[in-house]
């Protein structure tokens, strides 16, 4: 297992390099201009000058190489400096966003807390709701509960967050006035009161996002449970005189979790990638909103870096999923 992991990790380096090249090429080829948001009143010559100042005049391979060096060589040094107080990266050019003219990684780091809070929590909540639903729907296959669960989750899945978001805001913020419609990213939780405020402002975005997760995961869980409920070992467990709850919750669930856990792991990168629409609707301003802003601003270094981090996570969690699969299912061996 260890060698499998190391092997995959090493193989993922060329993979990631290739992915970075493709992403870079795509961003270069895609139409769009970092000057798009500069007002029309600014004359073209000035825009041209601004573009040059961004380094847009250079050949693509030089730009790419610069980015590679900055991302793989300088940024890690900055991290080391940050941790150990050293000064390796002193004076070296970091990956700078075109839009904010500041290091991309600093902004990303700044965004991580709220993204994790909201999107991550939503994922957790979504899973926490989905799994019991999936288990019970499968256990009572074709019962009213199962049908209702299917109904609700499918509706939840087919209604886009750009509708559910504003809908919740209109209900809970405008009519009822219970919850804030705008997320305060500066809010610091340091006591019970502020924790309550934090919960209040997280409820709506978390729920909107959790709905989607719930819909998907509960389907998978239900399917996996159905596959396992009729297995022979379940009968063996019953024959031992185990309680029905133990039979289902221990024996069946444990087996059904194997595929579901990998699906969950594969969905993890999306947490770090943020949730573009929902973040925007609730002004959570996490990574998703950042990516959207940069995409519209054609901030190539920013988009490139974010997308690439995302790619790393995808490759990494793919590996995690495979490893988890191996860990959870003792039958699978990778070496």
């Amino acid at each position: 297992m260890l060698t499998f992991t190391i092997r995959r990790l090493i193989l993922s380096i060329p993979t990631l390099l290739f992915i970075s090249l493709v992403i870079f090429g795509l961003l270069q080829l895609a139409p769009g201009d970092p000057m798009a948001q500069v007002p029309l009143t600014v004359p073209p010559e000035v825009k041209e000058k601004m573009r040059e100042a961004l380094g847009l005049g250079q050949a693509w391979y030089i730009q790419y190489w610069k980015w590679l060096v900055q991302f793989f060589w300088i940024e890690p040094q900055v991290l080391i400096d940050h941790w150990f107080g050293t000064s390796f990266a002193e004076g070296k050019q970091r990956v700078l966003s075109w839009q904010t003219r500041s290091p991309v990684m600093d902004i990303v780091v700044q965004r991580i807390p709220q993204t994790l809070w909201v999107v991550g929590l939503a994922y957790v909540v979504g899973i926490a709701i989905a799994i019991p639903i999936g288990i019970y729907s499968a256990y009572r296959h074709y019962s009213v509960f199962d049908q209702a669960g299917t109904f609700v989750t499918m509706i939840g899945f087919s209604i886009p967050p750009f509708f559910t978001g504003p809908l919740l805001i209109v209900i809970f913020s405008v009519y009822l006035g219970w919850l804030p419609s705008i997320y305060d990213t500066l809010h610091v939780v340091n006591d019970w009161q502020s924790f309550k405020v934090q919960v209040m402002q997280m409820i709506m975005p978390v729920m909107v996002l959790a709905l989607q997760t719930t819909a998907q995961i509960s389907r998978y869980m239900r399917g996996a449970m159905l596959d396992n409920l009729n297995q022979d070992y379940v009968r063996t467990a019953r024959a031992k005189g185990l309680k029905e709850a133990t039979v289902v919750m221990v024996h069946v669930v444990r087996n059904s979790m194997i595929p579901v856990v990998t699906v969950i792991a594969l969905g993890m990168p999306a947490i770090f990638g943020g949730a573009i629409i929902t973040e925007n609707v609730f002004k959570v301003n996490g990574i998703g909103q950042l990516l959207l802003t940069w995409l519209f601003a054609n901030d190539i270094p920013g988009v490139m870096t974010l997308t690439f981090i995302f790619a790393i996570l995808i490759v990494f969690f793919n590996l995690i999923a495979d490893i988890l699969y191996g860990l959870l299912d003792p039958r699978i061996r990778y070496d």
Binding site: V46, Q93, R111
Partner: protein, 551 residues
């Protein structure tokens, strides 16, 4: 009503911009959101007020020819600075800072977004600590480019000393937290998210600002921003609510705030492509002057298209009180506004007659007029925006009624307004017959704005498709008149020439078909006092005067 009092008495004020500021240095961005958020911190020597008049801010008075501040030949302007101003860090504000600002923006490698303001500046002298002399290379009837208005504030020399030219982007701390003379200082800046500010303890006016702190949130969309001020009351001020009037009206019913509108020279217009955008032409020749447009080059067709439009209805549907139908490209300031009202009444029959007269008839009975095998079929593009799409639908309907077929297309604003020469979908390339957008100019002088339509200024392959003469208009008479305007200093005379130029491209030739003069619509909560909406400068220009109304 709480107007007077000590500094910081009113606690926190919350502003929401649905576009989030990404930097607080307007020289590096130029985006409205960045310029306006920065205007809370750094200030120019003079600003325009809500009427478009200039007010001295850091200068003690506005230099004019009359008071001797501007030289007779219009090539030099001398600013006298106030001597009671200190930066928020306590150090004195001097002419050196002003001179440095000019150097900063004029540095060839800096990519300064406000470079145009400094056009023609040959030198900036500082005879003493409180005097700045700016010299131009030619007579400038409007010498108020540098250091005037929100786009051209003064930055502190000490803070930015190491940030000249190519190094500009590396000064993240300075760009995110410039030291200024304005009413607020940055406490935390989170790019593309939120800015928190505190009252500037060293602000020159006693008792101002009334607010001890300011939260400047960005992100979301116009609907959400409007809602947070008008319906939930979470915020005090929301910027630029580009929403349909009925939507805003509904929000106002929430009773937490009001929407305010201010008119400037922002005109939503149709640009008629005078060149042929046909995809059958080889790349590099589409939409270039080499190929005149098959039917839009006919003035009667353009006029007929304009006559078919009911501008009043458009305004009602799209902007309500926040718009006025107009036939002019330059509807403000007042002296440049031509008394041109002919287009305001819709005349479908007249339009049909005109097309008949021009020989465009429906010869094959398919409901679309044609002539010599060419159909009156128009590709009409604009950026993606709910109101614009409503406009498209209405206009398409009218044009259909006069026998013109229309295909609509809407493009993402970042592509449409982005100048990527590789993209076929930019407004400059104009691979369409008609396009719709709005434009305006900074300050109160339309000279540069009108100069856009000079011969040769059209986007073309040689110029990497850069250029402002979007419709490829070319008239030597117009160019001559422009030259005359550049030489004229007298304000009334300028107004006259300006109106003539305006008429030449609108009423006379119909290459530009103005639709609506759009107001800037913002909203503030009922408890926020002192808001004066200003379309000539940063909306937040007088934030020092804002206060919390008593209950």
């Amino acid at each position: 009503d709480g107007h007077e009092g000590e500094r910081g008495r009113d606690g926190d004020v919350k502003i929401i911009y649905w576009q989030a500021p990404s930097i607080l240095n307007p020289f590096l961005s130029g985006g409205t959101k960045d310029v306006e958020s920065a205007s809370l911190i750094i200030e120019p020597l003079a600003r325009y007020n809500e009427k478009g008049e200039m007010l001295p801010f850091l200068a003690s008075e506005v230099p004019t020819v009359a008071n001797g501040g501007v030289s007779e030949d219009l090539t030099q302007i001398t600013w006298k600075l106030r001597d009671d101003i200190v930066w928020s860090d306590g150090s004195p504000f001097t002419s050196a800072d002003v001179k440095f600002t000019a150097e900063y923006c004029m540095h060839p490698e800096g990519g300064c977004a406000q470079g145009a303001k400094f056009d023609g500046v040959t030198s900036v002298e500082t005879p003493d600590d409180h005097t700045v002399v700016v010299t131009f290379n030619e007579p400038k009837p409007n010498p108020y480019g540098p250091f005037v208005g929100g786009e051209s504030p003064i930055i502190q020399a000490a803070q930015f000393a190491d940030c000249l030219g190519a190094k500009a982007p590396e000064c993240t701390d300075a760009n995110f937290g410039p030291i200024g003379t304005g009413p607020f200082v940055v406490t935390e800046f989170r790019p593309n998210d939120v800015i928190t500010m505190a009252a500037n303890e060293n602000y020159r006016e006693e008792g101002k600002p009334a607010f001890a702190s300011l939260t400047f949130k960005g992100g979301g969309d116009a609907t959400a921003a409007g809602r947070s001020v008008l319906e939930t009351g979470e915020f005090d001020y929301a910027w630029n609510l580009q929403l349909a009037p009925d939507v805003i009206a509904k929000m106002e019913e929430g009773g937490k705030g009001v929407a305010i509108a201010g008119f400037g020279p922002l005109v939503e217009r149709l640009e008629m492509n005078l060149t042929n955008p046909s995809p059958d032409l080889p790349e590099g020749e589409r939409s270039t002057v080499a190929h005149p447009h098959p039917f839009l080059s006919d003035e009667r067709v353009r006029r007929a298209l304009s006559m078919a439009i009911d501008r009043a209805l458009l305004t009602e549907v799209g902007y309500g009180k926040a718009g006025e139908p107009t036939c002019n490209l330059v509807p403000a300031p007042a002296i440049y506004n031509s008394d041109n009202t002919e287009c305001l009444t819709q005349d479908l029959d007249g339009a049909k007659a005109l097309l008949d007269e021009a020989g465009w008839t429906d010869s094959d009975g398919d409901g679309v007029r044609d002539k010599d095998g060419v159909k009156l079929s128009i590709l009409y593009q604009t950026s993606t925006n709910a109101v614009r799409q409503d406009f498209q639908a209405l206009i398409k309907d009218w044009w259909q009624q006069i026998g013109v077929e229309t295909e609509l297309r809407n493009l993402d604003a970042s592509v449409f307004f982005g100048g990527d020469p590789g993209s076929p979908d930019t407004f400059q390339k104009f691979y369409a017959d008609v396009e719709m957008y709005a434009n305006t100019f900074n300050g109160t002088d339309p000279q540069t704005y009108l100069s856009a339509y000079r011969c040769g200024n059209e986007p073309k392959p040689d110029s990497q498709w850069q250029g402002e003469n979007i419709n490829r208009f070319c008239d030597p008479e117009y160019d001559a008149l422009l030259d005359e305007l550049a030489r004229t200093g007298d304000i009334d005379k300028r107004g006259e020439i300006g109106r003539k130029l305006n008429d030449m491209i609108t009423k006379d030739s119909m290459v530009i078909v103005p639709l609506v003069n759009r107001a800037r619509v913002s909203a503030h909560s009922n408890s926020l006092g002192g808001v004066v909406l200003n379309v000539w400068d940063s909306e937040l220009w007088n934030v020092a005067d804002w206060y919390r109304k008593g209950e």
